[in-house]
């Protein structure tokens, strides 16, 4: 009836083999498609349309220069940058104080506010761009970068609040209190004690907001016509753009965002590690 018991050594060896195989497969699965994009983006138009495809990039800049030279692309790139930068500033500017308040204070309405923030995550926020098209026209901010940035800020704000909440919660209150005891005002204590500790995390969540805005497609496509962002441009040209331009566009979208995320990876994990709920 009893099966042979496996010794610790055998069990560990089997586990290690399984882990290795799993890790390799998963890594290839993630990296290979991106590699393919790079191959396509760094190949000439002929290579992109050729069949069968070469699996190595030609290192030819033809597709990329074609894209960048195409009418409207460079300005859409600049627009994306500006909108993302504004989103970054707004979301931290609005979110960080709220996060600080949630971390440090008990007050009536705290629960309601938290519920409100949580509620926004239950809704497909990009859809809010729909009613805003009409509203923006009435207010005269339609097709403006700031108008889009406001929508993107709404997308990024819940994250900003929750992330800064956990960030500030991680700074012990005793440090600020010590600063008060030694004569600092609240603002000074914040600036000298909390800010230096929280700064890396704040910077990381700012970059996260930047990336959210940079990558956003739906609202950008709905709200913008003349001042399109890169995502809107690429989406609206999907039917008509040739393959090599699509891939070059994809690479242009991916590389800055992926680079930024890589730079903040340590903080990204610390942020999400704590701000789970």
């Amino acid at each position: 009836m009893s099966t042979q018991l496996i010794s610790v050594d055998v069990a560990q060896r089997r586990l290690r083999r399984l882990l290795l195989v799993g890790a390799v497969i998963a890594t290839i699965w993630v990296v290979l498609p991106i590699y393919f994009l790079v191959v396509n983006a760094w190949s000439s138009q002929d290579a992109v349309n050729a069949f069968p495809k070469a699996f190595v990039p030609e290192m030819n800049h033809e597709s990329l220069s074609f894209l960048l030279g195409f009418d409207g692309v460079l300005s859409s790139l600049v627009n994306s940058l500006i909108v993302a930068a504004i989103t970054m500033i707004f979301s931290i500017g609005l979110g960080a104080p709220a996060g600080y308040a949630l971390a440090r204070y008990e007050f009536r309405g705290k629960g309601t506010f938290r519920l409100l923030i949580l509620l926004t995550r239950a809704f497909p926020l990009p859809l809010l761009a729909l009613p805003l098209t009409v509203l923006y026209i009435r207010l005269g901010v339609d097709d403006t970068l700031v108008g889009l940035a406001l929508v993107h800020t709404m997308l990024a704000l819940p994250f900003a609040v929750l992330i800064t909440f956990s960030l500030f919660s991680g700074v012990p209150t005793e440090l600020e209190e010590a600063a008060w005891v030694f004569g600092c005002t609240k603002v000074q204590a914040f600036r000298r004690v909390v800010l230096p500790i929280a700064l890396p995390g704040l910077a990381a969540s700012a970059i996260f907001a930047f990336v959210i805005s940079w990558n956003e497609v739906f609202a950008s496509s709905v709200l913008m016509i003349q001042n399109r962002t890169l995502t809107a441009f690429l989406l609206q040209n999907l039917d008509v753009s040739p393959m090599h331009m699509k891939f070059a566009g994809g690479a242009l979208l991916v590389l800055p965002a992926a680079t930024f995320m890589f730079l903040i990876r340590k903080h990204l994990f610390a942020m999400w590690g704590i701000s789970n709920r």
Binding site: L15, L19, G22, A23, A26, T27, V30, V31, P33, I34, F36, L37, F51, P52, K53, F55, P97, A98, A101, L102, R104, F107, F113, L116, F123, P124, L127, L128, L130, L132, V134, V151, M154, L157, V161, W214, N215, V217, F218, S221, T231, L235, L238, M243, K246, F247, G250, L253, V254, A257, A258, M261, F262, R265, L268, F269, W272, I274, N276, R277
Partner: protein, 282 residues
């Protein structure tokens, strides 16, 4: 500014902003959906929406995609998260690599997988090269609904599993090691440890991940657009169409409400199904 009022001043900007750019547009879009073109309230927008031939397909496709992608990626993410708990060195590197897709726009992801699945793409090149087929296989063509579905599912899982992974890994990180150790001492093997200790204690994280991903899955848009254009209708794509191409805001608003309703419904289901009883939390 007294000490007591300080927190209110701090949250006021964010709160007001949320009211202005969330609650207000939410009420606007709800009103718009129920507003008839000639004025007054009616259901005519919904009737137009439902009457259109693409609605049923879009609804079916969206629900199908959600039902396929979300469970599959939960399994993948759980497996990868478990794998990470047993890795001794290089865990961080693996995590960084596996979360690269977090920074990739859904449009870019669609384009990436277009390069793989299109007629002259990498998949066909590999198949021909390996001698598996003689001629390129059509995956994203007009009549290839099933193949297109599979392609979209794969692309979506590739793109969006990273966020689930992050949520689950941090959730696992909250579980003290001792529980698994106690389970082990009392006779639990690897599978028993996973099902009887890890999974139950991951409930809050599972709930968060499921809600987040289900809502995002219902909004699937750019990946489908990049891979299939208008051949594979989904709710968000139809919303965009009605708003932009057909210039019909009210019907688009009706679509938006359908997506909204599905999202809320799904959220409530998860909240009920995966709630943790009193005193049974970590």
């Amino acid at each position: 500014m007294t000490n007591k009022s300080l927190p209110y001043w701090l949250i006021a900007p964010a709160a007001l902003f949320t009211v202005a750019l969330f609650l207000y547009p939410l009420s606007l879009v709800t009103l718009e959906a129920f507003t008839a073109k000639s004025g007054g309230y009616s259901l005519e927008n919904f009737q137009t929406m439902v009457g259109h031939w693409k609605f049923g397909t879009a609804l079916k496709n969206t629900l199908l995609l959600t039902a396929l992608v979300v469970p599959l990626q939960m399994v993948v993410a759980l497996s990868l998260a478990q794998l990470l708990t047993r890795v001794k060195s290089g865990r961080d590197t693996l995590l960084y690599v596996w979360t690269i897709p977090l920074g990739i726009s859904d449009l870019a992801a669609g384009i990436i997988w277009l390069g793989i699945f299109e007629q002259t793409g990498f998949l066909n090149s590999a198949l021909i090269g390996l001698g598996v087929v003689d001629a390129p296989v059509s995956i994203l063509g007009f009549n290839d609904t099933f193949a297109t579905l599979v392609a979209i599912v794969l692309a979506e899982i590739w793109r969006s599993t990273a966020i689930v992974l992050v949520i689950l890994v941090s959730g696992i990180g909250l579980i003290p090691k001792e529980y698994a150790e106690a389970a082990e001492v009392f006779g639990a093997g690897a599978w028993a440890k996973f099902t009887k200790v890890t999974l139950p204690l991951l409930r809050p994280s599972l709930q968060t991940a499921l809600i987040l991903r289900s809502i995002l899955a219902l909004e699937v848009f750019a990946v489908v657009a990049a891979l299939s254009g208008t051949k594979f209708p989904v709710l968000m794509g139809e919303t965009y169409n009605w708003q932009f191409a057909l210039q019909d805001g009210p019907v688009a608003a009706a679509f938006a409400l359908v997506i909204l309703a599905l999202s809320v419904g799904v959220t409530l289901v998860y909240l009920r199904w995966l709630r943790v009883p009193r005193g049974a939390g970590l």
